[in-house]
Amino acid sequence: MHRYRFVLFRPLQFLPVLFGISVITFVLVRLIPGDPARILLGTRATPTALARIRAQYGLDEPMWAQYLYFLKNLASGEMGRSTLYKIDVLPLIATRIEPTLALVTMGVLLSLAIAVPFAAISARRQGRAADQAVRVVSTLGIGFPPFWLGLVLILLFSVTLGWLPVSGYGETLGEKISHLILPGLTVALSLSAVLTRSLRAGMIAGIHSDVATAARARGLSENAVFWRHVVPNALVPTVNLLAVNIGWLIGGTVGVESVFALPGMGQLLVRGIFSRDYMVVQGVAMTFAVATVLVNFLADIVTVALDPRVKL
């Protein structure tokens, strides 16, 4: 099991990464023009009221001192208090994390469900009509912006056909799943386009590889060669591509959440930015960063499990 030893040590490397991210987000948020106290109280607020708010949230202190407070809070498991929602940031994020997580999971599962069969069809009929069709569709998938795809899907499945809810999230598991299908599909259509292309390339290389020739030479049928030898080898590089894309997806759910009115992290981030709610923006950015780091960590574990040659 020595190949999995990195699972114990790798998390130590996360610490400097997260520290760096905290510094960058902290500084960047404060570079956004606009005074949070004035945005909170409106344009007609008195100077004393403004000063009181500033003192209350520590905004009158120098930036390095604010950062130290932030670190101190973080060490005791807090992320400060939202100026907009008037509650602590951590519980606020906790309530918003589920829809985003569910959306990303749904998107990834749907995109794999689309990409693997499409890539297989395409690779095994390389150069023929089915392959051309898959390639055109996946090029379109990359080309269309997700928010536009989302609107088209709503028009088709919710407004015209009435099969699925237009927007929102729901209470029960069943409701949640039916609310997630369209946003998940929106994410999946662009993500699966990227995955299909990578898988197709890997599968085509695999079909012509020496491994496949040797497998044919021992009498395996073309189907057995493909699913037992070509696919496992083609999955390895795709896992890493998927990890990179999930990282991008986590930050990119903002648009999809807005279109489908999902109460997730993306929405929270947008509102936080508009109201200069430093604590919320920082908290969300940190959560995204942690998620991205964790996804890549997970991808490393999967890669090691799929490819016995990899040592980390």
Partner: protein
């Protein structure tokens, strides 16, 4: 009746209007228990012929247009795919030149063997796995229950080829097609694999088609030889008759260019030290990280305490099997690999003390020729541009004189001047290597390090490149460090031989002496393992090397 008969087989390549004849009316027979050697250079069609027998032509643009192949009297040339599946692996097995790329890297060795057993003998999975262990034992694995659960990359090259043989023989086929099975292996390992094949023929009555470009391999193992060239069989016959009295001029040329033939004595007088050596290596050690935990890093010593002096104008062959540290030594010498401890000096500049200055001198006075001539050239540049780039960077030739110098360089390596405008893709292997040598010469070096630079070439091309080196060294007074695993080539080119094993120098002396009277058992075993073209001079017992099987495992555990 012969087991396998090929009659007037024709294979054509068709792409639109373009049509080429690749295999031209080939007829061959293979009897039960016979080993047939199919000899020819790359592109002669020998691999293609065997693919056709298996019904596995590598492209849809290729097709059998005439003739037929029959297996035990049954015509299998145009069998439907479904019936062909029962022949592949079950009646005819196949092994390949490069076991590393032909074994599935992400599937356990045992499972790859079991796969065929499930397919052809309908064994349940568990039974097939047990059977796989038995088969691994038969092909010389020492601890098959454990090794069946290992992956290809955890084995040494020789063991991978044994695993490949196990996969191919799992379902007890009548015929084994072995496509250059030992070309990628060291000589001692090659001897072991060839012996394994001969044993399998004895124990199972296996018939073997052995494809190779090495007549020595054929002379040692085969009963009959067929020589192929340009898609035709130019000569065929019983081994001894064919080797003793070749009829076709091509066969005669092949035999004449075989390096094992003692057609010339080891070259040159031993070097007489007359001045300060060009290269001084003292107690050099180079090691690589080899895993382990962050607080207990393991290191693998590639070069372990080597001291060596090489004088100006010497031609030194460094010989050893893969993993012996010869390439690492050369790379360290050129400053391409950090020194772990010890000293390396080039013409008085000590690399370990004045790194920047020595590197600057090395880049101006030393050049390297690489193993893979094609990949070592930039595919986007023409040969002329590649050479001009070196000349510009070196600045030894005035800018205006560069085109003339490029022509001179091409003349030196025997390439037509027209090659200046061509890119590597349109060159053959031998032409690429000539371009690679021209690039090294463009530096106007005092030292050339050639790392396995003929290993990837056909024998007749090898002979030409070695000849080129010989003329260049004589004409320009170069110091040549020629790294090879092929002792025969070193013997014919170098006046001095250094033999390395496990990172140490085990023998160092004038070629004539080392080859005639090796003082260490390892070089003796290496020399004995070279397959001689004389069939009556048997392949000597290769020295068992306890590290060869567990080499990779040792690194991992």
């Amino acid at each position: 009746m012969s087991l396998l008969a090929i009659r007037d087989l024709e294979i054509r390549f068709r792409d639109g209007a373009e049509e080429r004849l690749l295999i031209d009316r080939v007829s061959l027979e293979l009897k039960k228990g016979e080993i047939l050697g199919l000899v020819g250079e790359s592109g002669s069609g020998k691999s293609l012929l065997c693919r056709a027998v298996m019904g596995l032509l590598p492209s849809r643009k290729l097709s059998v247009t005439k003739g037929h192949v029959s297996l035990a009297g049954r015509d299998i040339t145009r069998l439907p795919e479904r019936e062909m599946l029962d022949i592949r692996g079950r009646r005819i097995g196949m092994i390949f030149q490069n076991p590393t790329s032909h074994l599935d890297p992400v599937m356990r060795i045992g499972d790859q063997i079991a796969e065929g057993l499930c397919r052809h003998r309908g064994l349940p999975r568990a039974a097939a796995r047990e059977e796989a262990v038995t088969i691994l034992r038969q092909v010389g694995f020492t601890d098959p229950p454990r090794q069946a659960r290992m992956y290809a990359h955890e084995f040494s090259g020789g063991m991978r080829q044994r695993a490949m043989i196990a996969v191919a023989l799992a379902c007890d086929p009548d015929i084994l097609i072995a496509d250059e099975p030992t070309t990628a292996l060291d000589v001692t390992i090659q001897a072991q694999i060839l012996r394994q094949l001969a044993e399998l023929r004895e124990s199972r009555g296996l018939s073997i088609i052995l494809i190779t470009h090495d007549l020595g391999v054929v002379a040692q193992t085969c009963d009959r030889i067929a020589v192929m060239r340009d898609g035709r069989i130019v000569e065929e016959g019983e081994k001894r008759r064919l080797l003793a009295a070749p009829q076709h001029p091509y066969t005669q040329a092949l035999i004449a260019s075989h390096p094992s033939l003692p057609h010339e004595e080891a070259v040159g007088d031993p070097y007489q030290p007359h001045s300060r050596p060009l290269i001084e290596i003292d107690d050099l050690e180079v090691s690589f990280p080899a895993g382990g935990s962050p607080w207990a890093r393991r290191r693998f010593k590639a070069v372990d305490g080597v001291s060596l002096r090489i004088g100006r104008g010497e031609t030194v062959g460094i010989v050893g099997e893969s993993g012996s540290g010869k390439s690492t030594l050369a790379r360290t010498l050129l400053g391409l690999q950090p020194v772990t401890s010890g000293h390396v000096a080039f013409d008085g500049s000590v690399l370990t003390l004045e790194r920047a200055r020595t590197l600057a001198r090395l880049r101006r006075e030393a050049a390297m020729v690489f193993q893979d001539p094609f990949n070592a050239l930039n595919p986007r540049l023409t040969v002329g541009e590649t050479l001009a780039e070196v000349l510009r960077v070196q600045g030894k030739v005035p800018r205006a004189a560069i085109p003339a110098r490029v022509n001179e360089l091409l003349d030196m390596v025997g390439l037509d001047r027209g090659f200046a405008g061509r890119r590597p893709r349109s060159l053959s292997g031998g032409q690429c290597q000539r371009a690679g040598i021209a690039r090294a010469l463009a530096v106007d070096p005092t030292l050339i390090v050639a790392d396995e630079c003929v290993a990837a070439l056909d024998v007749t091309i090898q002979a030409q490149i070695v000849e080129l080196f010989r003329t260049l060294v004589a004409a320009q007074g170069l110091t040549l460090l020629f790294i090879a695993h092929d002792l025969a080539i070193v013997r014919s080119l170098c006046e001095r031989v250094v033999v390395m094993q496990h990172g140490r120098v085990v023998e160092d002396g004038p070629s004539a002496e080392v080859f005639a009277r090796p003082s260490h058992p390892y070089p003796a075993a290496l020399i004995a393992a070279i397959p001689s073209i004389d069939p009556d001079q048997p392949l000597a017992a290769a020295m068992p090397d306890p590290r060869s099987q567990t080499q990779q495992e040792g690194l991992l555990t």
